[in-house]
Symmetry: C2
Amino acid sequence: MLILQTVEELKEWVHETKKAGQTIGIVPTMGFLHEGHLSLVEKAKEENDKVVMSIFVNPAQFGPNEDFDRYPRNLVRDQQLAKKVGTDVIFAPSVDEMYPRDSSIKLTAGTLAHVLCGAKRPGHFDGVLKVVTKLFHLTEANRAYFGQKDAQQLAIIESLVADFNFSISIRRGQTVREQDGLAKSSRNVYLSDVERNEALHLKKALEIGKTLFLKKQDPVEPMISYLTEHTSGKIDYIELLGYPSLTKTIQNDVILALAVQFEKARLIDNLIFNPKEN
Amino acid sequence: MLILQTVEELKEWVHETKKAGQTIGIVPTMGFLHEGHLSLVEKAKEENDKVVMSIFVNPAQFGPNEDFDRYPRNLVRDQQLAKKVGTDVIFAPSVDEMYPRDSSIKLTAGTLAHVLCGAKRPGHFDGVLKVVTKLFHLTEANRAYFGQKDAQQLAIIESLVADFNFSISIRRGQTVREQDGLAKSSRNVYLSDVERNEALHLKKALEIGKTLFLKKQDPVEPMISYLTEHTSGKIDYIELLGYPSLTKTIQNDVILALAVQFEKARLIDNLIFNPKEN
């Protein structure tokens, strides 16, 4: 497994790989890998000749009062895990390597970022668009892999690719969960033991909400009651929208999503389903 | 010469061309071709196996009170001219083909668009960035060709490519001029006979300004006097900036640029030069 830290090294590898007629899959991550990331690599392995995983805690997608500095990092462990699942290249650049200068030109997510996490984290998805665009261009990847746990991110990136004609295919990965249902997340390490036990109720609340919605009942109030009763976390939002349009207009799939702020970790989770098929 | 009108046709051609290991140069235009465009094709022919010219009057870069509807168009004549200089493919899509739906995601030029034409045409360069990004992705071109007459556009596109790591090389084409010095422009057809004679003084004013600047004298006031005396047009701006930074900080090259509004045509012109080499 190659570990590349500079744009020049990556471009050279991409050039050689393309020249050899091989396809490339990219799995963009912020590191501190868990099984969610690794399942994306496994999917990418099946569909591409070579798999690049980027590991970059992207400052552009953190707000001034968010957890950029204390976001968990462990590159040594990440390398071992990435190697074990057959990653061909890790691209782990420095911030200066990715952002050598300020850019006057901006990508903004617009109304797609006015709901769910975007409403609570102004500028977050603009930062995601920036880094993802750069990674797509640098790797010239045929396919890119994103988990459905970050459902709004996935929807926004799908829109980016469609609206700006990127020649990359976006592949969705299922959310990977702990045995008790908690969605895997790098931020789970910041839960206290008590909070960790409470956190299994996020998925349960979503299941309750889904069942109510399918019976044409309001899911939100009962979910608030349930979460308030079973966790000490503060509910950031509970929303039900069309997916991936992220609008109130529901055509096929819907997303039922929530965010709960615990003491040191803000957790998100969601269910995406087609009401007609349930 | 192929004439393609849909994104799907273009993508198929690009796929086949890339598979054959051939390089692609793109010359983005709004049609109504003149020798400036054709010189870009000739340059592109020298440096690439295949040359695509796009012909698309891009509504996204016209303001509500600008000349989108009456922008000159003549696809039949354009095809003849493009063929004569060896263009391999014309891509001439409809507006619906390029913009099948509204996009929530926007590219904005920022401070680079707060000077020169950008200050007078809000949103213009955002629209340029949008169409150029789409064309770069669709053609997967190795090189793209832009004329220095649209110097601010060129600087902004160079910044786009650098800051977002596009794998495309931007190539600058010299401004092509009429015998009397008037810069070739599709909009020149809208000049009256009197205005056409006056318009040669734009280049002369720039030369006067450059000479003064090199003598460390203010170029702007004398240029205003000269243009007021020799043309009936209204001066939109005269500016001197670093290039391609488009800031007041001059490091190497400078741009001396002007815009003059005639009755039915707004003309722009500029000189880019390195004061240390003059």
